[in-house]
């Protein structure tokens, strides 16, 4: 007789919330030849390889090497396709080591990566702490931890990890690490200078690293108000990798901030598979009078995706939902609530910005106080946030 109830068992949502799939009637296709679904491997050959590796994995589920190489490839597939299903599959491959405290280092690193991408930041940091205690010179572990620490707002700890990296990695990686940690604080200028130097040096670096560094540099420039430099950085990065969804989002935000909504629409239109980019498309469309019909369609699609995620019980969309509530639904109170809940979990510059914007719009003093305290502690280099706080009635 365990004292756990259906309540504790499954998350029951009560009478009111219908989980019904859209009430469409199921259909029987007219012919056997009708293609129902194109699998991701039809667009990306490396996913076909992943599928073949599944056979190996099933044959030897306890083999660490097989499992980690499968998980690594699945995480990679999640990155290139933006499809979170691959994260779940990576987690499944690591099942024998998923809950083991002293899992072998390769499993720990992958586990932390999956956890943080599922927004289990505390779990990820705990795994990385353990890993770094075992292997203090593991650069990948340190970069990953610096990144996660930055996300949760432990900027000093993140910077410390970047410092420890310095001798082990290229100047560009090191500068990007610092830029990522300090990019929105009062130390942003120094971080930006280092990044600029590293970017202009002729030392060869892999394109993915360069895209990462350029994106960070562009974001810092945008926060400082140098739109021209920011745009140049983003464009350079897009030239190297046009499929990077985060980069496209950062560039779109710059365009929207400058009132260049039509440019933003052009950038985002081919990329709406990504929820975060569809959100920005809807925000841009909402500000363009001649796109009413398109807006209605895209907005319905976005709402359906938010809804589908919410029904799962996921809270990973709070930042985006807050932006949606503020910019599209014109519901500042809801936006402020979501932004505050989000800021409890993650504290990246974008999280601070939506918190400030929503709190000001909703005149939510408590939310504003949260932002003010944060700024007092870490400083801020974001002129848009500073201006918003100035304008405060």
């Amino acid at each position: 007789m365990r004292l756990s109830f259906s309540l504790a068992g499954a998350v029951l949502l009560g009478w009111a919330i219908a989980i019904a799939p859209a009430a469409a009637a199921p259909a029987i296709p007219v012919s056997d030849d009708v293609v129902l679904e194109r699998l991701p491997e039809s667009r990306d050959a490396s996913i076909g390889t992943l599928k073949k590796m599944r056979v190996l994995l099933h044959a030897a589920p306890q083999d660490l090497r097989v499992a980690t190489s499968y998980a690594r490839r699945a995480i990679d597939a999640a990155r290139t396709t933006g499809d979170p299903r691959f994260l779940g599959q990576a987690q499944a491959a690591l099942a024998p080591w998923w809950t083991v405290a002293d899992a072998p280092p390769p499993a720990l690193l992958l586990r932390a990566t999956i956890k943080q991408s599922l927004h289990d930041f505390d779990g990820a940091i705990a795994d990385l702490d353990r890993l770094i205690a075992l292997a203090p010179s593991d650069a990948q572990a340190r970069i990953t931890r610096a990144t996660v620490l930055g996300v949760v707002g432990r900027i000093d700890d993140a910077r410390r990890d970047c410092d420890r990296l310095e001798s082990a990695v290229s100047a560009l990686v090191s500068a990007a690490c610092r830029g990522s940690a300090d990019g929105s604080t009062s130390r942003a200028a120094e971080a930006e200078r280092r990044l600029a130097n590293a970017l202009s040096s002729n030392a060869p670096s892999p394109p993915a690293i360069r895209v990462w560094a350029l994106t960070i540099a562009g974001e810092i420039a945008a926060r400082r108000g140098d739109a021209a430099l920011a745009e140049a950085r983003f464009r350079d990065a897009l030239a190297l990798d046009s499929s990077d969804a985060y980069l496209a989002g950062a560039y779109a935000d710059l365009l929207i901030d400058q009132g260049r909504d039509a440019d933003a629409v052009r950038l985002l239109e081919p990329r709406t598979r990504h929820d975060a980019l569809l959100l920005r498309l809807v925000i841009a469309e909402a500000r363009l009078a001649d796109l009413r019909e398109r807006l209605a369609i895209d907005r319905a699609e976005l709402a359906a995706r938010f809804d589908a995620t919410r029904r799962r019980g996921d809270g990973v969309h709070r930042r985006e939902e807050a932006r949606y509530a503020l910019a599209v639904e014109n519901d500042p109170a809801r936006a402020a609530g979501l932004a505050r809940a989000n800021f409890d979990v993650q504290k990246e510059p974008a999280d601070l910005r939506i918190l400030v914007d929503a709190a000001l719009a909703a005149r939510d003093e408590r939310a504003l106080e949260v932002a003010r305290r944060w700024i007092a502690r870490s400083g801020v280099n974001d002129i848009r946030i500073a201006a918003a706080m100035e304008r405060r009635p």
Binding site: D33, E37, L109, T144
Partner: protein, 380 residues
């Protein structure tokens, strides 16, 4: 959807990818609707073709596309796979489920196979117990979004790898649900010998008092029924109050105790209550003992209620009904016991056999329970 930095890509520094995608679309979900009417079940289960492909490799020709023909030819495998990972029980009895027809539909993240379901339960019940295990071993981020619809109610549940079962109320009739839990409460106290023996141990001396007779202290019959009644009322009220408190706390998951501890403590409470009849330590304040041990018994009731499952949507009602059922069952025991005991109170048999031998027997039985429960050994 995700923050860039919140998805640090694992790769060696040499290949050096440290970027992050915004995720597109949601993770894996299936949508299951179960409609229940009397003992009939029907419904539909939408399973993403991507997910079914993961388990069954539907793409027979390996061209990266799943056609209707490829899906249709695997209908049997699909049905067997899915149904082997779903169990529905009605009132504790397993229901049958089969696939009537295979169709397709589309959700926000792609095409889904639709299994149109049909089934039956041995008996109609006010609750349906759903056990969902689809895909968890292949994708621990999978969720089962289940909706149970009855003629008068609709309830939803989200299943995950950590939450694979749920009990869902299927009757919208508050009265019917109330009666179900009331009956369960009564049956639980009647069927739970430990609770009955505890109560009896406390009640046995209620028709007696300790008197000094010829320089020795001994049991003597009470003079009036009123005196016995007041004593019993105090004990029953204290017991009821105490176990209602802990039953509620535990049922709402506010306090959770290990069941082995609870069950052992209940057995111990019976031993102590019966011992007190043989070697009276607590004399006038037996209601205090009833209250203290009642707290423990409440956790035991909660365990029984947990096994039964508390439906959402009517949590408070069901909890109250179960508790009232326990009280009603308890009062029924008192109503039978008290007049009989009062009538027999002056007999030597009552003092010697009912109180004396009865208490010894209770001590013996409850000691065995205690040993079994506390040390996890089988004696009986």
């Amino acid at each position: 959807m995700n923050a860039l930095r919140s998805f640090v890509l694992v790769a060696s520094i040499a290949t050096g990818i440290v970027a992050t995608p915004a995720l597109a679309h949601k993770a894996s979900d299936s949508y299951l609707t179960i409609e229940t009417s009397e003992s009939r079940l029907s419904g539909r289960w939408d399973i993403a073709l991507r997910d079914a492909d993961l388990a069954l490799d539907l793409d027979a020709d390996g061209d990266g596309a799943i056609t209707w023909g490829e899906l249709r030819r695997r209908e049997r495998d699909l049905a067997a796979w899915a149904l082997s990972r779903l169990a529905v029980r009605s009132g504790g009895e397993p229901c049958t489920l089969g696939v009537q027809r295979l169709a397709t539909d589309t959700h926000s993240d792609g095409a889904y196979a639709v299994l149109e379901l049909d089934g039956a339960c041995p008996a109609a019940s006010t609750t349906l117990n759903v056990d969902y295990r689809l895909l968890f071993e292949l994708d621990p981020q999978h969720r089962g979004l289940v909706r149970v619809v009855s003629p008068s109610s609709e309830t939803s549940a989200v299943f995950s790898t950590d939450a694979r079962t749920a009990t869902i109320a299927t009757t919208g009739s508050m009265l019917a649900q109330f009666m179900t839990y009331l009956r369960e409460g009564v049956l639980h106290i009647w069927g739970g010998f430990d609770h009955v023996l505890f109560l009896v141990s406390l009640l046995l001396p209620a028709v007696l008092v300790r008197r000094r007779i010829a320089a020795r202290e001994a049991w003597a019959p009470v003079d009036t029924f009123g005196a016995a009644f007041v004593d019993v009322a105090k004990i029953v009220t204290a017991f009821t109050l105490a176990h209602s408190i802990t039953l509620t706390l535990a049922a709402l998951d506010l306090v959770v105790l290990p069941s082995r501890f609870v069950e052992s403590a209940i057995a111990l409470s019976v031993v102590l209550a019966a011992l007190n009849n043989l070697f009276p330590v607590v004399r006038h304040g037996r209601w205090v003992a009833a209250f203290a041990f009642g707290l423990v018994h409440g956790f035991g009731f909660a365990g029984a209620l947990a096994d039964l499952g508390l439906p959402t949507g009517s949590l408070a009602l069901s909890l109250a009904a179960f508790n009232l059922g326990v009280e009603a069952g308890q009062l029924a025991i008192v109503a039978v016991f008290l007049p009989a005991a009062f009538a027999l109170r002056s007999t030597l048999a009552y003092r010697r056999y009912a109180l004396g031998a009865g208490s010894i027997a209770i001590v013996a039985i409850a000691s065995v329970w205690f040993a079994e429960r506390a040390f996890d050994i089988a004696l009986s």
